[in-house]
């Protein structure tokens, strides 16, 4: 019996220390998956990359203590609405579909959407080019919505939990193409595995309704105060050169987009 009491006491302690340690921090949800150059983990388990540095800059500017909280990609929005996290900053595009459930800050980057495939197979990133092929996308992304709208009749669609797994299956030859953010795909093409197998087939036709105007921080609809702070901070780091400074480390162009 004593042991049970001790266990219960330990549980209470654990719950309490977990509970009240971080009252004032903003929990920023992200999916713990390799998504270079925006997100990548090093061997010590630390996350780095362009978006991590931008999050850091935005939080410093807005005088917020941000805490990165790993949540699987398809659980991010539910985690936000059930208040497990306070913001999503994970290359999530601002779309009308998502706006039904959550709100977004202003965009902080915007890049085109591309399709890659195996080397030596020439095809274009449109329904005619993808006819009869298997195209892989990450679930619950703008890309998955896009291929479902535009390529359903032409191609077979396979959905992956992470973009990294789709890339992996492209290299293994299990799928014929994958569609994703052009910069993320470029990083894969420059990696050893990517260089060996695949090349760029082209950018897909624009569809603003689905692909959206860019990437923003996902927020709860009622959190207007946080939204105001983040918007001001995004504008501030654009103006004071911090954004350009971080971007220069990763890209030779401005990812903010037009």
């Amino acid at each position: 019996m004593k042991m049970i009491v001790k266990l219960a006491a330990a549980a209470a302690l654990l719950a309490a220390s977990a509970g009240f340690a971080s009252a004032q921090t903003v929990k920023v949800g992200f999916s713990p998956e390799a998504y270079p150059p925006f997100w990548s983990a090093d061997a010590s388990g630390k996350w780095g990359g362009w978006e991590v540095e931008i999050i850091d800059a935005i939080c410093t500017e807005a005088k917020l203590t941000c805490e990165l909280t790993p949540i699987p990609w398809d659980g991010l929005i539910p985690a936000l609405t059930t208040k497990k996290i306070d913001a999503i900053m994970n290359s999530m595009s601002i779309t009308d579909e998502r706006k039904k459930s959550i709100d977004f800050s202003d965009k902080y980057y915007n890049t085109p959407t591309a399709v890659i495939g195996p080397k030596g197979e020439a095809f274009t990133a449109d329904p005619a080019g993808l006819k009869g092929k298997i195209i892989g996308v990450q679930v619950s992304t703008t890309h998955s919505a896009y291929v479902k709208k535009h390529f359903t009749e032409a191609a077979e669609i396979k959905e992956y939990q992470t973009q990294d797994e789709a890339n992996q299956d492209l290299a293994a030859g299990r799928i014929d193409a994958t569609q994703a953010d052009a910069i993320a795909l470029d990083a894969f093409l420059k990696s050893e595995a990517g260089m060996a197998c695949c090349d760029l087939k082209g950018n897909v036709a624009e569809d603003l309704e689905i692909l959206g105007p860019g990437v923003g921080a996902g927020l709860r609809k009622e959190d207007t105060e946080l939204k105001g702070k983040l918007n001001a901070a995004i504008k501030a780091i654009r103006d004071n050169g911090k954004y350009a400074e971080i971007t220069k480390k990763y890209f030779d162009f401005d990812v903010y987009g037009g």
């Binding site: 998502r98 039904k100 619950s140 797994e165 992996q168 293994a172």
Partner: protein
């Protein structure tokens, strides 16, 4: 005591299962279900109805195929461990230990992504006749679930083979039966009969393992529920429905096995 409680008590006496407190609990349960039906969001159901049926079919298909194949593998595995020479017993035992000692999720990912990552080094694989199967996800799902079931059930079969009374086998030998006939007519049927009571539980455990295949792009009923969550951002409703579906399938499995056991006479020999 008024008429109503009297009749209730009478009713309860007639059927021991239906006692007054059960009626109360059932009323609470019905109220909960009704509340869930009224207050939760179910408007997505018509859109995903077809997909859900397909998903259930795929889950059941994988379950049946892997259980049947798994049993077929478990028989030699059990026999090798119970009566085989050491050079058969050792590998069989090692196989069971390794599979039972590591998580199925890891085995599945090792087979699918691990093997997949080796493909680019062997370009000839893509020209082979097996490639159309290696390309798809379901063969890996079937393979790893079959191996897992075989390992767990192989352990059960080992006990079952060892548990058949020696006298039975000696009697068969005394009749001049050939070894294979003894195995087919005496040893195997009795071992299977001994293993049958655990089989229902093992099959339910196997059902509970099937949703893992969704992580390698096989679209079973679990994947359909995830799809609903991802498309609509509705969290609880698809998961609750999913739990209900698994409960029903488990119930059906248990009923089927109960029927099967009832058809076999309890006392053999």
């Amino acid at each position: 005591m008024n008429v109503r409680t009297a009749s209730l008590a009478e009713f309860a006496a007639r059927s021991p299962w239906l006692q007054p407190h059960r009626i109360l609990l059932m009323a609470v349960g019905v109220a909960l279900v009704a509340a869930a039906a009224i207050f939760m969001r179910w408007d997505w159901l018509p859109n995903y109805y077809g997909l859900a049926l397909q998903g259930i079919w795929r889950t059941v298909w994988i379950l049946v195929v892997t259980c049947v194949l798994g049993i077929m593998l478990a028989v030699p595995l059990g026999l090798a461990q119970a009566a085989g020479p050491w050079w058969l017993a050792m590998p069989a035992n090692a196989f069971c230990t390794v599979i039972r000692g590591t998580p199925l999720l890891l085995q599945l990912w090792l087979l699918y992504y691990g093997l997949g990552s080796l493909f680019p080094q062997f370009p000839w694989i893509r020209q082979s006749d097996l490639w159309p199967y290696l390309r798809q996800a379901w063969p890996y799902a079937v393979l790893s679930l079959t191996l897992s079931f075989a390992a767990y059930e192989g352990e059960v079969m080992r006990g079952a083979f060892a548990g058949v009374p020696k006298g039975q086998l000696e009697a068969a030998r005394a009749y001049g039966m050939r070894p294979f006939t003894i195995f087919r007519r005496i040893w195997l049927p009795q071992a299977l009969h001994r293993a049958l009571p655990t089989l229902a539980g093992e099959t339910v455990l196997q059902l509970k393992a099937t949703p893992l295949v969704a992580t390698i792009t096989v679209i079973d009923i679990y994947a359909v529920a995830s799809r609903v969550r991802q498309d609509t951002f509705i969290v609880y409703e698809p998961l609750l429905l999913l739990a209900l579906i698994y409960l029903v399938i488990s119930g059906i499995i248990i009923l089927l096995f109960r029927k099967m056991e009832a058809r076999i006479p309890v006392r053999l020999g």
